[in-house]
Each structure stands twice: as structure tokens, then as C-alpha cells.
């Protein structure tokens, strides 16, 4: 059966096309494009992606408005039913603002917008998104953000670490994130939020393909299941 995915576009999203291209290249099926104001998602989705960008101009807090937009009620309901949800960059901010993931993403400690390739250590290789990587594998994925400084209180950090929910960690100082956390999973493992952009790293001619395994594993895992 064809892989059915959706990419949500908020006003101010700017990586939605990149995400759609990555999903189509890897799965062979074009994702459905869903607008933030839509009341419901297409039926029978295998995968939902929240793309990067500056939804609602980052008004109030990054991701704050998008997290409360009409479509997010359906995204939250789908996530709670186990549908895989990937949020990248602004998508990660939307996931924390919506409560699907713990913590918050604050202004980078340096105050600067950071746009460069960063080395990441794959910390969890059990999830749908990360099982295509080797334990402790080091991958290179680009980041491009101003608000990527992950914060949670110590008890929350200890809990997500203890439950193996840190998916990726920066291997060099990046944005001031607590414990160098670059991406986290929800407790069920079907929601991943990450600041680095795997969708920008799926083809060698674009500078690297270390992000491809994330999509391949998620898509193949779902098609097999």
C-alpha cells in the first residue's frame, strides 16, 4: 500500500517544500499538503511532518501560535493514537508548545542565528525514526535557527534521559541546549522533535545524506508494519 503522509504548512513555514520533497524522494509517494487552518487531516495517514520556518512570524514565542491553530487539534489526536509525527526546527517548537513533547526552545545562548552543519550523536537507535542508525553513530545535519536552546527542568531532563528519549545530541557547542540535546522523543516513541534539518541532508549533491536514514527507516518501518 502506498505510503500516506502529510506536511502541515503554517503561515510562515518555509521548509515545507523541502520536507515534502524528502518524503516523496524516499517513499515514492508525494505527501498531501495540509494548511494550518484546515479542520481535519486526510484519512489514513502513516506519517505527519511539521516543517521548519517562522510560523506566524514567531510572534509571542516560536511555535506558540501554530501550536494552537485549528489543524493542531487533529495532529495531537493523531499523535495520541500512535501516528508518527516528525517536527523539525519550527516543527519541534510547535511540538513543545502544543505539549506533545516536554521542555521549551529558547533563544540561542549566543543570541545569534546559527546556520551550519553540526555533528550529532545518535543516542537512541530503537525508535522508528532512529533505528536506521548505529548506536552512537555520528552524523552531520545542518541547523538553521535562532531559538534552538532546549530547556527543561532537571527532573524532566533526568526523566527523558532515563527513558532513552534523547534521540540526538550535539557533539559540539551549538545553541546552549541543556545537556546538548538536539532532538527528543515522546514517551511512546512516535513523536520526534529535532532542531537539525534531516530533510536538508538526503542527497550527496546537496552536501550530505546523513538525514536520509531517518526517513528511510520511518517509511520502510511503516510500510512493513
Amino acid at each position: 500500500m502506498a505510503f500516506r503522509s502529510a506536511v502541515i504548512t503554517f503561515p510562515g513555514s518555509n521548509c515545507d517544500r523541502d520536507m515534502a520533497v524528502a518524503l516523496e524522494k524516499v517513499s515514492g509517494s508525494a505527501p498531501q499538503r495540509v494548511w494550518h487552518g484546515d479542520a481535519s487531516l486526510p484519512d489514513g495517514l502513516d506519517f505527519i511532518a511539521l516543517p521548519g520556518g517562522f510560523s506566524y512570524g514567531d510572534y509571542l514565542r516560536s511555535g506558540a501560535m501554530a501550536a494552537r491553530s485549528p489543524i493542531m487539534k487533529s495532529v495531537i489526536a493523531a499523535a495520541e493514537k500512535g501516528v508518527p509525527v516528525l517536527g523539525v526546527c519550527n516543527g519541534f517548537q510547535v511540538l513543545t508548545e502544543s505539549g506533545l513533547l516536554p521542555g521549551a526552545l529558547m533563544r540561542n545562548a549566543s543570541q545569534n542565528f546559527i546556520c551550519r552543519d553540526v555533528p550529532l550523536k545518535v543516542e537512541n537507535t530503537q525508535s522508528l525514526f532512529t533505528a536506521g542508525y548505529d548506536a552512537d553513530e555520528v552524523i552531520t545535519i545542518p541547523v538553521a535557527h535562532h531559538d534552538g536552546n532546549f530547556f527543561a527542568d532537571d527532573a524532566t531532563l533526568d526523566r527523558i534521559e532515563g527513558e532513552g528519549r534523547v534521540a540526538f545530541r550535539y557533539l559540539e557547542s551549538c545553541n546552549g541546549s541543556q545537556r546538548d540535546i538536539a532532538g527528543i522523543l515522546n514517551s511512546a516513541g512516535n513523536v520526534l522533535g529535532m532542531m537539525p534539518h534531516p530533510e536538508r541532508a538526503i542527497e550527496e549533491e546537496h552536501g550530505g545524506s546523513d538525514g536520509r536514514a531517518l526517513f528511510e527507516n520511518a517509511i520502510n518501518g511503516l510500510v512493513r508494519a
Binding site: A64, A104, R107, N108, F151
Partner: protein
């Protein structure tokens, strides 16, 4: 009714913006600034019968992120 919502970072949450402002104040020659924390002021104009509970819910559901921020509601006399 005019209401001011003061949103501030919780104690212990690193405030890069406040730190940058602090450095800049020192660079301008102001000594004795011990700390700077930057927050937000949100001005609301709401119906006079808006309940305290509604104001509280507005803060918790949208205006503040309770993971990192505190809020204080200040009701102003109607002008």
C-alpha cells in the same frame, strides 16, 4: 478594562537576552547593575466582566509558557 500581563522568565532559566542587555549597560559605563532579566508586557483591553479565572486561563493557555515563564496579572483602573 485594561489589564497588563507581565510575563517573566522563571528564576533559574538562563536569559541570554537579559545577559546581553546587562553587558551593554556595562559597556555604556553604568556600574552596579547586578543582574538583568528581560520579560514581556502584554496589554489587554477586555470586557469589564471578564473573570479572574478567564484572565488566568488566557495566561496559562497562551500568553505564558509555563515551562519557562511566570506571569503576573495587573488590572488597571479604567481610564
Amino acid at each position: 478594562m485594561k489589564v497588563h500581563i507581565h510575563v517573566s522568565l522563571k528564576p533559574g532559566v538562563l536569559d541570554p537576552q537579559g545577559r546581553a542587555i546587562h553587558h551593554e549597560l556595562e559597556a555604556l559605563g553604568f556600574d552596579g547593575v547586578n543582574d538583568v532579566r528581560a520579560g514581556k508586557l502584554i496589554e489587554l483591553d477586555v470586557a469589564d466582566n471578564t473573570s479572574d479565572d478567564d484572565l488566568d486561563q488566557m495566561c496559562r493557555k497562551l500568553l505564558a509558557n509555563m515551562v519557562i515563564e511566570n506571569y503576573r496579572i495587573e488590572k488597571l483602573e479604567t481610564a
